[in-house]
């Protein structure tokens, strides 16, 4: 089944030229797909569209449909969307804004009005997944870059999405942290979750089932 599907997506920012046109991408359950392309081709924009951030938070002219497990994203509430698809951005410093690790991971579940007991459980599970259980009460400022990105990932996982979008999530990580995050991705795949990654490095291809290339406003699937 297609967990995430973008059908005939065309987009231009307000007052700008068309960034891409009639783009088709999809990710199945348990699949990991990479999107590559030159700088400025619209990879991050496409990620934001697939996660529903565009047009909700960022305006522009969007045509086409995004389907999450067959349901059109436009018809889904924010609460439903964030429990189906989670997105991790490149810079962890921009994604952490609470004093402690626990506060950071609790933010998402709090927004969904989950009970305190459930929130506590999700914090524990998310920290176990990223192997940072002992950091629960630490200040986020004292963490290294790689640790921050893992906490940002834990904050996303606390919402238990079945689709993960990773927008150049490895680019600022060292080898050790990259290895750990790759392990988490592998684990998510084994759980049957769908992974959509934006990466230009060739180092991550062994994780990947399919590759899309976004160039000159069009996508094409590339044979590995």
């Amino acid at each position: 089944m297609k967990a995430l599907e973008g059908r005939q997506i065309s987009f231009s920012y307000a007052g700008g030229k068309t960034l891409f046109s009639q783009v088709n991408v999809h990710v199945k359950n348990g699949e990991c797909v990479i999107l590559r392309g030159p700088s400025g081709s619209g990879k991050t924009t496409l990620c934001n569209i697939l996660a529903g951030i565009i047009p909700r938070s960022i305006s522009g002219e969007l045509r086409g449909d995004v389907l999450l497990f067959g349901e059109n994203l436009r018809t889904l509430s924010l609460a439903t969307v964030v429990q189906k698809v989670g997105i991790l951005f490149q810079n962890p410093d921009s994604q952490l804004f609470f004093p402690t690790v626990e506060d950071e991971i609790a933010f998402g579940p709090e927004n969904l009005c989950l009970s305190r007991e459930e929130i506590g459980l999700r914090i524990e599970q998310a920290l176990d997944t990223v192997q940072m259980g002992s950091y629960r009460l630490m200040e986020t400022e004292t963490l290294s870059h790689g640790q921050k990105q893992r906490i940002a990932l834990a904050a996303v996982l606390a919402l238990q999405p079945q689709i993960l979008i990773l927008d150049e999530a490895f680019s600022q990580l060292d080898t050790g942290s990259t290895h750990l995050v790759k392990g988490i991705i592998r684990q998510q795949k084994e759980l049957g979750h769908a992974i959509f990654m934006v990466e230009n490095s060739e180092e991550h291809l062994h994780l990947v089932d399919r590759v899309y290339e976004l160039q000159d406003g069009q996508t094409r699937e590339v044979v590995l």
């Binding site: 700088s39 290294s144 490095s201």
Partner: protein, 219 residues
């Protein structure tokens, strides 16, 4: 020959935390590329900032072209040592590409014709001449980086320190960057590049490797 940068028995301590960086005798020569590697949080950026006088050590000495960094202002250091931030946006503030290139010389009241000639030459060399009138905020990541390097070279720096220059660059801009590094070395400038990327390390496999682990420098 005098080392461009010479670190001697450095100890640096961050104010609040327990992090301590220590470095034994470590020289950096001109015409040589040094790769400063290590995991996130090991102190690479701290070391690079100590090397160019942005940070001052608690103990030990930093000498720049034979002179103690403690006796030099950042302005004096800047004429010899250049620093490229991981985010080049932080060092671009003049509005357009051309204004960026002439910003420092305008402030210093330098002779306009010669600085304009030098600026144009650098922009042409780095493929930015066609973008002279473009706002720096509309440049791509790779273009910003090249412009930041140009502004450093306008100051006459003979040794450049680059902090994670490949982060966020696509394949095409990475290749351009590698070419720039080769050219700068060929001109006899010294380079120290902070990186955690295997690809860059493999590309410059003959470069000197300086490893950092938990604030300890291993030359």
């Amino acid at each position: 020959m005098t080392a461009a940068i010479a670190l001697s028995d450095l100890v640096f301590r961050y104010g609040r935390g327990n992090f301590i960086l220590s470095c034994p005798h470590l020289p950096f020569a001109q015409g040589e590329l040094s790769l400063i590697t290590g995991p996130n949080g090991s102190g690479k950026t701290t070391l690079s900032k100590l090397m160019c006088g942005i940070l001052r050590p608690a103990q030990g000495e930093v000498r720049l072209f034979g002179r103690s960094a403690a006796t030099l202002s950042l302005g004096e250091i800047g004429g010899q040592i250049g620093y490229l931030f991981q985010d080049p946006s932080r060092q671009l503030f003049a509005g357009t590409v051309w204004k960026e290139m002439t910003f420092a010389s305008d402030l210093l009241g330098e002779e306009q014709t010669s600085s304009a000639e030098k600026a144009l030459e650098l922009l042409e060399r780095f493929g930015l001449a066609a973008l002279k009138e473009r706002s720096v905020y509309y440049l791509s990541g790779g273009e910003k980086q090249r412009l930041a390097i140009c502004t450093i070279l306008m100051g006459g720096a003979k040794f450049l320190i680059l902090d994670e220059p490949t982060v966020g660059l696509d394949r095409k801009n990475r290749e351009i960057l590698y070419g720039i590094l080769d050219d700068l070395l060929a001109e006899g400038r010294g380079l120290a590049v902070i990186t955690h990327e295997n690809e860059l390390i493999e590309r410059f496999s003959r470069a000197r490797r300086i490893k950092l682990e938990n604030g300890q420098v291993t030359p």
